[in-house]
């Protein structure tokens, strides 16, 4: 794992520009994913997302953060063309969604609950499904396809499990198989729905390392997650969602306690330790811990005072 990741990512305003040469500084232009004033209304009349906009450039990892029912999956569905926006438009690598799908540039790593794990397919069959878009009508794998599958399995460390039926794997291994499928597909845009639920710290680390490699190679990744603590670790952009986009932009600017309070309302557990409870010196900074379920997010210091740090 030799991704050129800056050691102090938070100090740099736009980490993506450190990774992909030639990416212009300044706000993203949406050359990867452009969601432009999108509203989605389901047939039953629910408007799940209203007037949502954000833009992501190649070489970006973006977290999509919001409470249950805030519209994360709906945004994914709009990007994958499963639902048609009632207003606004989505453009992928500059193309309309339908054209982008035909070009096979969108890879999707599904939520575990959406997969039938009893299906009679082996690990290598699933990864090979990532190659279908590159094959002829009969989907007969060529040598190049097999090589890509081998390589993808190696990269996620699942080569030893390739002959296993997919149900005979642990939660983290299952996630890695579908990640391997996305690798084998070689899509420019990779959508990951809750990739860290039910995954231990080691696997999470491996997945994050892989995502960084992909970022260095110029892919755009949109990751929906509840795992707030890991967001600043590896996401350079954040989109905060609550039926619309509350805030979107560089992690350092958007991922603040105020914005998160707005996004999560009362759903977030919030511990603030300050003053005498924290330390016995004249330091006026306080420690804020935000968590919904998994790794807590820790802010050290009053946001408006200097000397802010984050773990």
């Amino acid at each position: 794992m030799n991704a050129p990741v800056p050691t102090d990512r938070l100090a740099s305003p736009s980490p993506a520009s450190n990774v992909v040469p030639g990416t212009p500084a300044g706000p993203p232009r949406g050359d990867g994913i452009l969601v432009d004033r999108v509203s989605v209304t389901y047939p039953n009349g629910t408007t799940a997302v209203r007037d949502a906009s954000f833009a992501l450039d190649p070489g970006t990892i973006c977290a999509l953060v919001g409470i249950n029912g805030s519209g994360k999956s709906t945004v994914f569905k709009a990007i994958m063309g499963f639902v048609r926006p009632s207003a606004g438009a989505v453009r992928l690598c500059g193309m309309p969604v339908a054209q982008a799908l035909k070009r096979n540039i969108v890879a999707y790593v599904p939520q575990s609950e959406d997969v039938d794990w009893n299906f009679p397919v082996l690990v290598e069959d699933v990864v090979m499904m990532g190659r279908y878009g590159h094959m002829n009508m009969l989907r007969i794998p060529a040598r190049a396809d097999r090589a890509k599958v081998d390589e993808a399995l190696e990269r996620v460390g699942m080569a030893a499990f390739r002959k296993r039926q997919i149900g005979e794997l642990s939660g983290g291994q299952k996630k890695r198989v579908f990640l391997a499928r996305a690798l084998a597909q070689e899509g420019r845009i990779i959508l990951l729905d809750e990739p860290f639920t039910g995954v231990d710290v080691t696997t999470e680390g491996a997945i994050v390392a892989l995502l960084r490699e992909l970022r260095a190679a110029g892919h755009v990744m949109l990751v929906s997650t509840h795992d707030l603590g890991s967001v600043p670790d590896f996401c350079d952009q954040v989109v905060l969602l609550d039926r619309t986009v509350l805030a979107a932009g560089a992690t350092a600017e958007v991922f603040t306690p105020e914005n998160l309070q707005r996004t999560f309302g009362g759903a977030l557990r919030n511990f603030r330790l300050g003053g005498a409870a924290l330390h016995q010196d004249a330091d006026r900074r306080s420690l804020t811990v935000l968590t919904d379920d998994e790794r807590p997010l820790v802010f050290y210091g009053d946001p408006d005072s200097d000397g802010e740090g984050r773990t």
Partner: protein, 285 residues
Amino acid sequence: MSMLADWITGPLAYPFMQRALVVSLLVAAVCAVLSCYLVLKGWSLMGDAISHAVLPGIVIAHVAGLPLVVGAFAAGLSCALLTGYLKENSRIKEDTVMGIVFSGMFGLGLVLFTKVETDQHLNHILFGDVLGVSVRDVIETAIVAGGTLLVVLALRRDLLLYCFDPGHARTIGLPVRVLHYGLLVLLALTIVASLKAVGIILVIAMLIGPGATAYLLADRFGRMLAVAVATAMLSAAIGTLASFHIDGAPGACIVLTQSLFFGLAFLFAPRNGVLARRRVPAGTA
């Protein structure tokens, strides 16, 4: 040994038994392939629905002087499309919609049947008449079943991906609507091809049994297909020959043999069978 040989060759001395065997084997093969997809997609009831819905089509085609096959196919497909339309435009779940559509169409068929003078026997439509098939029927079945089989096998990977992960199928640009309706059309064609052999009521058994048996035995789709086709064709042969010896209805004998295979797989499947599980402590199987 020679008793077994006699058991097999005895019936086959009669041309009508030869034709019956050929039709049964063809129908068994194409139903078995389809059944793998139905079992995996959870569409077992869809097979039931389409087969029942075929009845009014047969009667109307008879009145209009069209080939019965055409009427049956049109009716089966309308059932599938109507189900899809009702599901998308109401809050009712798919299985409920199917139940309403196919029982309604079946009822319509029964009413029409009693109102119309036909030379058809209701029993033959319901349970098949494989002993009465003509050479022409054999050829017709071979064309419809063979064509369907070829198309399914050519599309088998795309159809599998569609059943397994429609989301991924869509994102890599596969035409999922075409696959969805294509699978329905192939199902309707399979049912139409099977009417002569097993009839409206029993075709559903042919469309579920082999897939269910193979699902227990195989952990890979290619093998599942092979096992399903093998058990289905074996059942067809055993059932047809047995029906001659015990003077029973061939369709019923075939279905019964398939059920027997399912029972064996349920008990003795090496990984998923009940007995295999008992040998290994729970949780590690």
